[in-house]
């Protein structure tokens, strides 16, 4: 579990499919967070995450840089999400509204649709950092290494991502209040 992505990608390519499970373990939460916001429900996110992970496995030979597995996987997940999205659009709106009412009623949320939707709408670099930090449990230093950027840039980007999330959540609340 401590090895980097490149190690496991190469193990898979060398004919050890079972080692793929470590990559699944590492990124399942990240993918779910990324997909839940786009697809509007946990079930659909799981379905899409599974599809993305399986698709990634069978295309792993096409991954040019094994150490950029995460970005590549996220790209696949985004594609899967787009395929699923059209038919899910309406449903998603309903789920968001429901999540607001649940939130206002003070119920403890096992899933935060509003937040996931806000994440889903972040530009890619901001989204990646939020996902890795809070859904992949990476430290900022690890993120800097993973995304190949200076720590200072990670810090600034994270800060900016917070601002964007706040703004997006604020807007959602307004939309919700107007629709009430």
């Amino acid at each position: 579990m401590s090895e980097n992505d490149k190690f496991y990608v190469e193990r898979c390519l060398d004919g050890h499919p079972d080692d793929y499970r470590y990559l699944v373990r590492r990124y399942q939460g990240v993918l779910l967070a990324n997909l839940a916001g786009k697809l509007g429900s946990r079930d659909r996110a799981e379905e899409a995450a599974q599809e993305a992970l399986v698709r990634a496995y069978f295309n792993i030979g096409k991954l040019k840089k094994p150490d950029s597995f995460f970005s590549w996987l996220l790209g696949i997940a985004d594609n899967v999400a787009k395929e699923h999205q059209r038919k899910e659009q309406l449903q998603r709106q309903r789920e968001i509204v429901r999540s607001f009412s649940e939130e206002s009623s003070g119920t403890e949320l096992s899933q935060d649709y509003a937040l996931e939707t806000a994440i889903a709408e972040l530009p890619e670099v901001y989204r990646k950092i939020i996902l890795l930090r809070y859904y992949g449990q990476h430290s900022c230093n690890q993120i800097a290494e993973q995304l190949d950027m200076p720590l200072g840039t990670v810090t600034k980007t994270l800060s900016r991502a917070y601002a964007m999330l706040r703004e997006s959540l604020q807007q959602q609340t307004e939309v919700y209040e107007v629709s009430q």
């Binding site: 499919p17 079972d18 793929y20 499970r21 699944v24 373990r25 399942q28 939460g29 779910l32 967070a33 839940a36 799981e46 995450a49 599974q50 992970l53 399986v54 496995y57 069978f58 949320l109 096992s110 899933q111 935060d112 937040l115 996931e116 939020i130 930090r133 809070y134 859904y135 449990q137 900022c140 720590l151 810090t155 994270l158 800060s159 917070y162 999330l165 706040r166 959540l169």
Partner: protein
């Protein structure tokens, strides 16, 4: 520092990413600035929300699902690849060799084997044969097992479409080989649906008789039940088969389950010592027009006819030598030099896919292919006709002259004929037979 500058640093502050001096500056500022304190609380609230949600999602377990799907799909892909390679190999081989004839010969054996009338000693109502006005067409599955009990899940299934005197037959172990029998004109057309190759065979004599016999007997049974649901048989009760309410009869070694309303048979079982046959999945009286094209003796578009170069098929009277050759081919070409565990129709049918693969590879000429096909077929026919016989080839290798593989008592003879592992044959008195 001004509030705007501090606010820029708050995320880095609670993430522990600031240098000492900046850290201190932020702390100092926060002491006196309630606006920035509020801002910090709000950001931390958002962070907690992210952390909570992150933990909730990390708890999910996609791992097993994904790995199972990966492994399942991997296997499917490997199998598909192997199939494609295999099909390609077979196609290449088939173009060069006359192996379709071997397969044709093998299928002829099946024709004969299922034509052996398992009802002969017990059908007492066969003299009431009525003209078959309605049952001109019949579709059914047949499972015949010689020597042991039928296992309906694993035994090879013969799927027949019968239209008048024609039969279209596919055996489950080789679904890409279709055989069409014209029992009236004693012809058989074999189609290899992957190689798009066709071959005609002559089936005069035993094959023709047996095949006709099989259809006649089946149709007789059906007519009899249909016309007289209380025919001379013992009613053994009712049960549901595939959702149909059925009435059961036993006549000698025959058990027949017929639809309680229409009287049409749903399942027929024939048990004789050493032979079990099950006839099921019947479909009656589908209009001839719908099935006609399936039993056409014309070569379909896109198929290439393999002409009879070399030896002609001759499925005439089988001899002991045919059985010896059959055992040799089976052991040497199909089993890497080991005699099979048992011999008989069921084993033979299960071996068919290898006949196509392994045997085809070992053949060098059209003549050899036809010869081997005929030997296999006639050897099995000879074996079928023997009454007093015993097989002991399990564990024996080709060449082991001291081990007996098979013995039988020829009709009217006093001594047994014994075939040994080196495929020599000797006369042996009963008391000297191997134990």
């Amino acid at each position: 520092m001004k509030c705007t500058e501090i606010k820029e640093l708050l995320v880095a502050y609670f993430e522990g990413l600031l240098g000492d001096s900046e850290q201190q500056a932020v702390e100092e500022h926060l002491k006196d600035c309630s606006a920035c304190q509020a801002e910090l609380q709000e950001l931390k609230g958002l962070r907690d929300r992210l952390v909570t949600n992150g933990k909730a999602l990390a708890q999910s377990n996609l791992e097993e699902d994904v790995m199972n799907q990966v492994i399942r799909e991997q296997n499917t892909r490997l199998k598909a690849a192997a199939r494609a390679t295999n099909a390609l190999k077979i196609r290449r081989t088939i173009m060069k060799s006359p192996m379709i004839k071997i397969v044709a010969a093998a299928v002829i054996i099946i024709a004969v084997l299922i034509g052996i009338n398992p009802f002969k000693s017990t059908i007492t109502f066969a003299d009431v044969v009525k003209p078959l006005l309605n049952a001109r067409t019949l579709i059914l599955d047949v499972i015949v097992n010689i020597g042991s009990d039928v296992d309906e899940d694993t035994d090879p299934v013969v799927h027949d479409v019968i239209v008048d005197q024609r039969i279209r037959r596919v055996v489950s172990t080789q679904e890409h080989i279709v055989n069409i029998f014209d029992t009236e004109n004693a012809k058989m057309l074999t189609l290899h649906t992957e190689g798009n190759i066709a071959v005609y065979s002559d089936i005069q004599g035993q094959v023709q008789d047996m095949t006709k016999n099989y259809v006649t007997v089946l149709l007789d049974i059906i007519t009899n039940i249909q016309n007289n649901p209380d025919f001379e048989a013992e009613k053994i009760g009712e049960k549901e088969i595939n959702g149909q309410k059925c009435v059961g009869f036993v006549a000698g070694n025959l058990t027949i389950w017929a639809d309680a309303e229409t009287g049409l048979p749903v399942r027929i079982e024939a048990h004789e010592p050493g032979l079990t046959a099950i006839y099921k999945n019947f479909q009656f009286n589908i209009p001839v027009e719908e099935l006609e094209s399936q039993v056409s003796m014309e070569i379909p578009d896109g198929y290439k006819l393999v002409e009879n170069e070399g030896t002609e098929f001759d499925m005439g009277t089988p001899t002991e030598q045919d059985l010896v050759d059959c055992l040799r081919i089976w052991a040497e070409d199909l089993m890497d030099g080991n005699f099979p565990e048992t011999i008989g129709m069921t084993e033979f049918t299960k071996t068919l896919p290898q006949v196509e693969g392994k045997l085809a590879e070992s053949i060098t000429s059209a003549e050899e292919g036809t010869q081997k096909g005929m030997s296999l077929g006639k050897g099995m026919l000879f074996h079928m006709q023997l009454k007093d016989k015993h097989y002991a080839g399990a564990g024996v290798k080709v060449g082991e002259a001291d081990k007996a593989v098979f013995w039988y008592l020829p009709d009217g003879a006093d001594t047994y004929r014994v075939i040994y592992g080196d495929l020599s044959v000797k006369d042996v008195a009963e008391e000297n037979l191997p134990k």
